[in-house]
Symmetry: D2
Subunit: 419 residues, 4 copies
């Protein structure tokens, strides 16, 4: 049986916003295949607005004209994805990504294009039309492209069937569906319809729901209908957001596992926001970047790199290819926070997980504002005998001890495999 | 290092209410030593109103006269605890319990007796008086014995020191402190003072906080200052309360371990409410009782028997001495709910934990209203290879399987050790 | 100085929904001029969807094509309003209504047509376009015609100026603006802009805000920027809604007066819902209709008749032309509820007001479910001397009394002028 | 028929707190009779703790011993009220007050003395005892004297009957009952019992409920069972509290009249807080004091002077005896706020009422922080003809005008009778 682990890959959003194009995707896919694939990185995902001819950065164009086929289905803008011309859609690009031994993903918005509704265009496999299935007062708060689809209307299922069959033809492996995760109380039925149509489309596709924060009281629903769901609004490179993620992860940890993953969002590392400036770099300190990677891995969040990969600097490459830390994303089970407390005026958070290969993982985070030395007995982890420690970032070993003792910078961390 | 596991014992409340007396305690302690001790049962706890001469059942007497020493400290009523006469307090009874190889616990209420405040009596080790340390508008909603103590007042610490030193002299091993767990937002400082005075009293005592529901957002505080805290109001023998416990346990599970335990309350099994009728028996069905024991054990709640032990019937004795189930309370680690979902119209809950002896625990509960057969792949537990199952209630084994398949009665359950 | 009193008139909604047409308006205006004008009835209001060629009843057509001029301004559909052909808009119809000695009103929706935004059409007097001033995530929850206008955008003021100048050219006296009254917390700035553009358009127009419930905490804002604002969602002919109006009126009463009026909505009397059936009649009992008229008049709500006027039955005509009751809408001042209480198991509500012509008004409502006789001392109204009573529905007089004594049917009422 | 107007008088609290004594009461009563009675001041009220021998200022003594008769009824402490010795209670003091042509009032707390409950003393006219009728978890949040009484217990009615009959024997005309007005959701039944026992005690007594804020949604209940109820917590001499009173009065205005009055609390003017210092004076400016008096009078709040009366300074005496302003408290009807708005950056509030003698009252308040000149058309008051104005504080007249034009200091006001 295939072990299910959180998806790992690259997504175009942090770096290129709505302006991602074919050349960018090919370049990053190539880099991933050559340098990162061996460490488990696998998905290449084209984020939002690929059907809009004129998108140029992270800003959305309201009411702009989108590329659409005669059946109300958005298709890639050939201006930006030249290989899609002539009705080929994302087929050629997916083929290229597959040829590198990687998987191909795309972003979609819940619903049906407004322009299809206004023009009242056709739906494949149904005598009903776009206007008839639209949910007229269901719109996205931050993007004008779509209306929601009313799952109770005849033609709604046919529409969702038709788009997923198109994606299957293209060879899509991963769908990031937006305007849906935190809309569940209202749009639950549309999410279920959409997920079911995906399951029945003839090709296996990961379903990733955005944006967060997802609703904890709907956890069982996300687990049942999706592989990933965002537990936060868009995550960027500032400490306040990273600090806040500890509580989100604490609350969601028991829902991770067996192919369904609470998603702490992309890793804004390296070169990001390149649609604004070629020189933009993450504002996270190195300690903060290690803390982020450690938390995401022990918590088992999906990992999606935000950086432009070409020309990746050594630090960031090391961060993304540290074998010790990445073993947690594959091997950790039963992850959870142990405690969060002040010691000598500094706030620490302790996490643990079991390794499926034997032993126990622990990660200690200094989430305070000054350097400190923590000295934690292994009994806090319910380990009642002396043990052997391997620190996962450094490989440093310590034999026959009953304590985790470590000096940590502000916002820094350490992680151990304990046997 | 001593492995810390949830306290197990007997408590007088479910059976005798406020009317517990010395003879009852001795009789149950003796039975426990002879029949239950070998299975891990250890604490004998005298619950509420032991200082009240006239208590006769579960009903409290408002404003009744309590036995108190000259220092505002409640002492046992000699009418009900004859060995306490002559200022010996619970010393002789504790000595008897200890002689059986067991541990001795008592109930207290947060605060200082109202009668001490009204008479303005002395506090040992302080020139301040009862009235000076009372928090005048802090009263228990359901019992008239006490006023809260204002931790900011001089004399407050001396009062709490004086009562815990008295309990240490008596030989008390366990304090169930009432009117405090769910009062935390208001009475946090009093809880901390009380807990600290207990730590410094010269004798190790388990601190158990009541009544619930404790406040999830205060979890770190309970973990730091107490060994047990009630996550529910008084739990009795009806399915609605047992059903509701699944959600309570789901939310609290990550806070259990390493000597601090979320407490799902007493086990209302066997012969309870004997202060009303000698013939009273639990209204739980046998399935429900197994479900309760299984949930409490895999969740690792403390276990406190509610039944009169003398003449314990065979079913109840079997329930409380099933070695397979009880190994979970000692060996389970990282307990958590896996999912809760409907299958064929029946609601099931799946729990898991890791065994410190190797292997994985799983428990499946049919919380629906009809019998059903569930067939759960081991991959739901992130077990990706065929495994060997031992059902813990029956000892039944199944080799080389990739599924948990079982027929369960309404409100019934099964539990497995999976290797 | 002209005394300001609540507007009274006829509105097409209750009877014809979205399907009102020119012939209907002319017919009802003519009836009003001949039969009702002398009692104070004055406004003839064309309600929603007059720019939609195909509207046929109370159901809205999502995303339908509307008649619009080149400057993004909706104009009447000539299919339904033939006199508007050739760019004349509502000018000829307004002229006809004025020729009868009446005033002419129209309904509008807050915002700018979606079709203007999608086509990005021009705005009169501005170099900016429809798309540039639209507030992209501000839509009506129940109608798909418009997007909100962002008052901070350049061109927004020019748009609103341009539509009100057009209405002034047509000769409009009354604007019922929809999707705005209960949206105030979000759309306050748009309401203020719209109201100011109206004030400066060169013609006096009553501004009526819909739909309710308006927000009590914004009362001063409504009073400052509008003449009427709906305090309820659409009001129809059922007792539950009429019963609920008593509390609404109690809370809003002190905000009525001096040209600003809390609006309890249209009077669903006589022949309503004629777009469905020519035979539809109000479901209110006669007692309930008198209770409605009495409450609306003593509270001083605007009065808008919902019935088709042609062929008005005698009861309804009497209801709408009772001089005694209608004097309250002109002469009442300082209206307010006195009390609401149970007497002999029946709930009554007592209202009072001062008459600007001298004397005190009182209205007593039996809002219970059985007939009852109430006997209320005048001292409840702070009248401490014997007085002379005139019952306003019947004209019955009673001299030298200190009591209001009356038998009332369930849902019935009486009203008095007390001197 | 006697016109009902809001009670006016003097209360000991603002000046003497819990330490009021007989000499003080006699002195102030004498002053009132000689200097204020002619202006309508009538009640002399002994506030809290008259049964406590040792009370000395505004601080309560927790759990102190109170004077009580054998039937659990509190009686005046003879140390502070010498004439009460020998079982005479407040009889002699009431007789003195009556001899001056004034009325006599006392303060009570809801409930039964804790000391009666603890000693389990008798209840007059019942075989039940104090402990049996106490509601054990109903205590006052700020005073330790009483437990609530459970109205469902036998003996509860007899207890309340017995205290009101005692007060009737003493000659009490006014009861200020504390710990009850804002406790209504919980203690409604006790309030009703208490009020009914008062009505049936054989002597007419005003019932005044404290402390506030009373609950607006219970308005009809206060109106039915009491003559006054506090709409605010204790009101003292600071602008923030006075500013906040405008909104309280706006909301409560329609509930005032016909013998039931929303109470804006005592007037902290002149010499207050004399239990701390003989030289203490109100911190309100003169403008603020006039604003307070004007609002209380046009709103028709009861008026209770807080100052020591002996040696009253000229300004304060003028404030309390201005005939123009005080005519509003007798003659105003239908009082209500007209609007609250900013003019030229200054916030103003406009109130109006009708005079039962003819004409309209108006009061304009500058509640902003700078001086300003307001110019308000009479049409805002629905007066549509030129009128004659008399300013009530100054007596200044203005004929034939259509405006209220006035310069007002920050926190200042003007009031007019308009004919």
């Amino acid at each position: 049986m295939k072990v299910k682990t959180p998806p790992m890959g690259w997504n175009s959003w942090d770096c290129y916003g709505a302006a991602v194009n074919e050349e960018t995707v090919r370049r990053n896919a190539k880099y991933m295949a050559e340098h990162l694939k061996e460490f488990g990185w696998e998905y290449v995902v084209v984020d939002i607005q690929w059907s809009e001819p004129t998108a140029e950065n992270h800003v959305y164009h309201p009411f702009t004209e989108l590329c659409m086929d005669e059946y109300s289905r958005l298709i890639p803008a050939p201006e930006r994805f030249p290989s899609s011309a002539g009705g080929k859609g994302f087929g050629p690009l997916a083929e290229y990504v597959h040829s590198l031994g990687l998987k191909f993903g795309i972003h979609i918005m819940r619903g049906i294009p407004r322009q299809a509704v206004h023009r009242n265009t056709k739906i494949l496999g149904s005598s009903h039309t776009a206007r008839e299935i639209a949910k007229t007062n269901s719109i996205c708060a931050w993007n004008t492209d779509m209306y929601g689809v009313d799952p109770e209307k005849e033609g709604a299922k046919e529409y969702y069937d038709s788009i997923f069959r198109l994606y299957a033809e293209w060879g899509v492996d991963f769908i990031k569906c937006d305007d849906i995760a935190r809309e569940l109380p209202h749009e639950e039925a549309e999410m279920i319809l959409l997920s079911d149509c995906r399951k029945n489309c003839g090709r296996e596709m990961v379903l990733s729901l955005s944006p967060g924060p997802a609703l904890l009281e709907k956890a069982e629903l996300y687990k049942q209908y999706a592989q990933m769901w965002r537990i936060t609004d868009d995550f960027w490179d500032n400490w306040e957001s990273l600090y806040a993620m500890f509580e989100r992860c604490e609350k969601w940890s028991i829902h991770n596992g067996a192919g369904h993953w609470a998603d702490a969002d992309m890793l804004p590392v390296g070169a990001i926001l390149q649609d604004y400036s070629k020189d933009n770099r993450t504002k996270f300190t190195r300690d903060e970047q290690r803390t982020m990677m450690t938390l995401w891995c022990i918590f088992r969040s999906p990992l999606m790199i935000g950086s432009e990969l070409e020309g990746l600097d050594d630090f960031t490459k090391g961060l993304l290819t540290n074998a010790g830390i990445l073993e947690m994303i594959r091997d950790a089970r039963h992850s959870h926070q142990v405690w969060r407390r002040e010691i000598d005026g500094i706030e620490y958070v302790l996490w643990t997980a079991v390794s499926s290969k034997g032993g126990t993982y622990a990660a200690l985070f200094n989430v305070g504002e000054t350097e400190g030395t923590a000295d934690i007995p292994l009994t806090d982890l319910e380990i009642y005998e002396n043990a052997h420690l391997t620190e996962l970032w450094t490989g440093e070993e310590k034999a026959d001890t009953d304590r985790l003792k470590v000096k940590l910078n502000a916002h820094g961390c350490a992680a151990w495999l304990i046997r």
